[in-house]
Amino acid sequence: MPRSLGGREGSPFTGIGPVYMKELADHLSSVRMLVLTLFIIVFGAFPVASSLQQLRTTIGSDAYLFLRIFTIEPEQVPIPFVQALNFVIPLMAIGLGFDLVNSEFNRRTLSRVLSQPLYRDALLLGKFLAGLTTLAVALAALWLIVFGAGLLLLGLPPRGVEVARALGFLVVAVAYGGVWLAVAMFFSVVFRSTATSALSALGLWLFFFILWPLIAQAITRAFVPPEITSLDQYIGLQELALALQRLSPGTLFSEAVLALLNPETRTLGPMLPSQMRGAIMGAPLPLGQSLLLIWPQVTGLIAGMIVVFSASYVIFQREEVRA
């Protein structure tokens, strides 16, 4: 159906299928993909192997044994699997996305491709979706490996609710990767040089990982009055600190994952005595409750992805095609 968008005729999605298929084939057959896969396996295998070793001693005493593979902090390797992912997923996404658009400029293929019947919309969205699919495939593979290893080494099947929670975790991980993929693609639209765009995306990633927590602390400290006189004041400060932290996609990811994989998590904000009332410490929440709890985090991640993608879209529309 012809659709009009700002006076243009024809669907903005014309041609998105071929773009998606080509990009996906490129990703899946690329050496880079192989490197990235090795990368996450190495990063994931260590924590998982050591948590499995530790978990074998606690079989039977834990209702959510399977989920602990993802979350416990093994003695030998002091990073849980999810934290390793928190760190590695952005790297993967940046690795896939930093040259999505500017490589077309540099290969001088952009004007030739855009002289075929498709809008820039389709090119950008097709590339993004192909990157996201690749990311999802890699993460799903990793997820299956962890699950398989768990089955083999723990020797007992996970319960349905554990599988459901672990699947939820996979979805959150893909959304988190999507944010960073959008960021990487944004830089690939803004900068013609692939090195510059890679560096910028990595710089932003380092900023959020290393500097942002410190900055958030400093800002909060600036708001601390000489004397804290009321509980409200205290909570206000806590909330400010948390709100600042949540501007980092990594925080949203950890919070969502925490609530999904630790069913005992009852709140993701500062906890008040009123919220504790009637709650038996250690009693797990039903899955529905946990999902409600992480809803803001998940929508935050998806909204972030959409905002960054839209920014790239706006810039790309105005860009001159000639190299």
């Binding site: 006076g7 243009r8 005729e9 024809g10 014309t14 041609g15 299928g17 071929p18 773009v19 298929m21 080509k22 490129d26 290969r107 001088r108 293929t109 004007s111 030739r112 491709v113 855009l114 002289s115 075929q116 019947p117 498709l118 809008y119 001159e320 095609v321 000639r322 190299a323």
Partner: protein, 312 residues
């Protein structure tokens, strides 16, 4: 609609305040080869990009095959083949794979794809290397692959931006031959270039671009008459006594200029070849060469811009 495949009226492009394309009127007729000629930065590429809807139009209008590239870019791009200057392909893919991607974008039915690609590659002599990665292709081969893409597309109009730049004389000759073949297939061709003598031979009509304006437009002969003045230039090589004097005394000869050892250039009001031959022989000389010089676009161009500079 008329016989025109492309119609531009008052087409305007501003970059900042600069009028890069300055309200030009231009028509390309069905089945002709039209040359857009001009120095670097004259606005040729910008004009082409506006025709394809690949850059915004600041004013005026352009109509391509009855469609408006601003509002109906997909319709235009389905029917027009474009070879950008310094065309690029995906180096990691073969020529065939590159064309398959284009075919998918064009939504060519799958069972036709293979045949159309091979036919197109055969028409530009790339069938033998169809499965080699494009990374191994020379510049001339890439340029030919670009033509193959247009052939496969079955475009009604082909727009070629500097198709011969960076090619050696032989590759240029081959490429021009392919452009002629496009024309024989009924495709209207718009090509841009600053290499005048090479494109002169293929163009039915040309437009001379200068600083965003069309300075002159017409057939090469028309332009020559306008800029160089009417006349028949001849090149004569002969031996004998006072050849120049003999030539100068022929009725209708306006100018005799020495052009090297035993050679002269003659400009006359009409065709004086028969008389020249007769007079030289009867004066006891020997005529070794007598040729009708085509007016050269190069000359037109140089003269025109010299005069334009003088006028400024």
């Amino acid at each position: 609609m008329s016989d025109n495949v492309i119609d531009a009226r008052g087409l305007l492009k501003l970059y900042g305040g600069a009028r890069v394309v300055d309200a030009i009127d231009l028509s390309i007729r069905r089945g002709e080869i039209f040359g857009l000629l001009g120095p670097n930065g004259a606005g040729k590429t910008t004009t082409i990009l506006m025709m394809l809807g690949l850059t915004e139009i600041s004013g005026g209008s352009v109509n391509v095959l009855g469609f408006n590239p601003v509002r109906q870019p997909l319709e235009v791009k389905r029917r027009v083949g474009y070879l950008p200057d310094a065309v690029g392909f995906y180096d990691n893919l073969s020529a065939r794979e590159n064309l398959i991607y284009t075919a998918r974008l064009l939504d060519i039915p799958r069972r036709e794809t293979e045949a159309r690609i091979m036919e197109a590659l055969r028409s530009v002599d790339l069938a033998d290397v169809a499965d080699k990665r494009v990374a191994t292709y020379s510049r001339g081969m890439r340029q030919r692959l670009g033509i193959a893409e247009i052939v496969m597309k079955k475009a009604e109009v082909a727009i070629l931006d500097e198709p011969t730049s960076g090619l050696d004389p032989h590759a240029t000759f081959e490429l021009l031959e392919m452009i002629r073949r496009l024309k024989r297939g009924g495709v209207a061709v718009l090509l841009s270039s600053h290499l005048l003598d090479r494109v002169q031979s293929v163009c039915d009509r040309v437009a001379l671009f200068n600083q965003g304006k069309i300075a002159l437009m017409g057939t090469v002969v028309e332009l020559a008459n306008k800029v160089l003045g009417a006349g028949h230039p001849l090149l004569i090589e002969a031996t004998g006594q006072d050849v120049a004097g003999t030539l100068g005394s022929i009725a209708g000869v306006r100018q005799v200029v020495p052009a090297g050892e035993g050679a002269w250039r003659v400009t006359a009001d009409h065709d004086v070849r028969a008389e020249v031959a007769q007079r030289i022989v009867s004066a006891g000389g020997a005529l070794t060469k007598l040729s009708d010089l085509q007016p050269s676009l190069e000359e037109v161009y140089t003269r025109y811009f010299q005069e334009a500079r003088h006028a400024a």
